[in-house]
Amino acid sequence: MKKSLLLLLLGVFAALQPARAGDITGTITLKGTPPAERELTPIKDDPNCSAMYPGALPTTHFYVVSSGGGLADVIVSLKGISGKSTGASAAPVVLDQKGCLYVPQILAIQTGQKVIVKNSDPCVHNVHTKPAANTEANQVQMPGGADLTFTFDQPEPFLKFQCDVHPWMFAWVSVFDHPYFAVSDKDGKFTIKNVPPGKYTLEAAHRKLGTQTAEIEVKDDGAAQSFAFEVK
């Protein structure tokens, strides 16, 4: 009886111990003035789309920079890790078509994780994936039509989603076979959660500015690493 109670107490104690994992945090900044964004004038070709922009037309969003120099839409990930995907049980991510644009434009997911594509527009879209390592797909989505679901088996960076009806519409989805990645927010900040302690190569990838890497060591209390991109 005493032995059983002791084992039970040990089990409870072990379960209450925090997992040995830390967060990697940091900020991505951009030095220099990025090229001017381009106005999406072809939007005028579809009255359904242009009607949603009675004022100025939207522009490209290649370089999303905060007033403090923080750079958004940078995908930060651990390199050299494979076979650790928890995508099948991860919550789906949503990619919406809104105002004849993809929202968000940059995403990161795991292999096997669902991407739910919505059409919030009053017009037809075709959702066309242009992968390098995965299987290409091209599906119709009518206004008010059912959501489409995509999954990808192979990791690959910046897998392109495009709408051929509206040739200015693009989204890029990086696929990893592990959960250790994040996309920098509007202030350039990112957090990669629950990384087991150890030494890693951390990569920051921007679709236009390329990639940077840093060697880091994650301890029980995590690690901090920032990147500074420069416009050349």
Partner: protein, 329 residues
């Protein structure tokens, strides 16, 4: 054999040529606007019967792709009627089979286009482009064979065309066909412009294609360039396209000079050879303008159509020259 000229049949064949030429232009607009996959289903259009697809949904890329499909259907119908008409009305057996060949080719072309969409295979766009050019030559040849001029010329005195000149034109025409296949390959790479300057290429006679150079080209592509990052293969392909273009221009210039020397400046074939040379000069200007305009859709489409007409001009020249020689001998 005593042929009888059927004006209605001839003009119907001409109508088919006009529709086919427009269809090639519309196909050029589809690729220039990167709209080939804007209608993901086939033979339906967004689930609708193709012919009942609501006009209010003909927007953006759908407009080009759906119009292309409808015009292709019309060309298919015209070609079917033409094949049946030839079979029933024209006494020439070989022309019956040429009509059947056109019918089979237009069916194959439609299926190729459909499979390109259904199977999502970019490379199928290359044979689709090549068959389009071949089909245009075939329909134009049928129109020529049904013309009053072709049938009446059997009784007229003919001046033979030297074999060397005919061979030269045939080889140049075949080179134009090869050039059109290269061009179709370039268009279906969806990489925009692999080289963004002309007459030099990235400031050089032959650009570097090292990984570092390609990375630099991609990093400094003009703002607004749509398409995938370029590769060394695409840069080399465009350089080959340029070299072959110069070779064709020289070949056609030589053909015009040879025709003037052998047939005389007043001969119809000499004048047509100089027209062909003018067409080639225009084609090179359109090619340059395609680059200078960052592949503006209308300019790039003009380049496609002028290429098709250059192939057609060489083919017709050769056909007429071969016939003249046969009748003279």
């Amino acid at each position: 054999m005593n042929n009888k000229y059927h004006p209605a049949l001839f003009w119907f064949a001409v109508l088919n040529v006009v529709a086919t030429t427009l269809l090639i232009g519309l196909g050029g607009l589809v690729t220039s606007h990167e709209a080939g996959m804007s209608v993901p289903d086939w033979p339906t259009t967004y689930g609708y019967n193709m012919f009942l697809f609501p006009v209010d949904k003909w927007v953006g890329g759908i407009f080009y792709e759906h119009s292309h499909r409808l015009l292709a259907s019309l060309v298919g119908l015209l070609t079917t009627v033409l094949a049946v008409w030839l079979w029933l009305k024209d006494p020439r057996k070989w022309l019956h089979w040429l009509g059947i060949a056109a019918f089979l080719l237009v069916i194959a072309q439609g299926v190729l286009g459909g499979l390109r969409v259904r199977w999502q295979m970019d490379w199928l766009g290359v044979p689709h482009g090549a068959v389009a050019q071949t089909f245009l030559v075939l329909t134009c040849a049928i129109a020529l064979f049904t013309s009053r001029w072709w049938q009446n010329s059997e009784t007229e005195k003919q001046i033979p065309v030297p074999r060397g000149l005919r061979r030269h034109v045939l080889y140049v025409t075949l080179l134009i066909f090869v050039q059109l296949v290269i061009a179709a390959t370039m268009r279906h790479q969806h990489a925009g412009l692999a080289i963004t300057d002309f007459p030099l290429a990235y400031g050089k006679i032959w650009p570097a294609t090292t990984p570092e150079a390609i990375a630099s080209y991609n990093a400094h592509r003009p703002p607004g360039t749509i398409g995938n990052p370029i590769t060394a293969l695409q840069v080399n392909l465009q350089m080959i396209h340029r070299l072959v273009a110069y070779a064709i221009l020289l070949g056609v210039a030589a053909a015009a000079m040879l025709a003037r020397k052998k047939l005389g400046g007043g001969d119809w074939l000499t004048r047509f050879a100089f027209f062909w040379l003018g067409l080639l000069a225009l084609q090179i200007i359109l090619g340059a303008a395609t680059i200078w305009s960052n592949k503006a859709a209308d300019v790039a489409t003009g380049h496609v159509m002028a290429g098709a007409l250059a192939l057609l001009a060489g083919s017709l020249w050769w056909l007429v020259a071969a016939r003249r020689t046969r009748l003279a001998e």
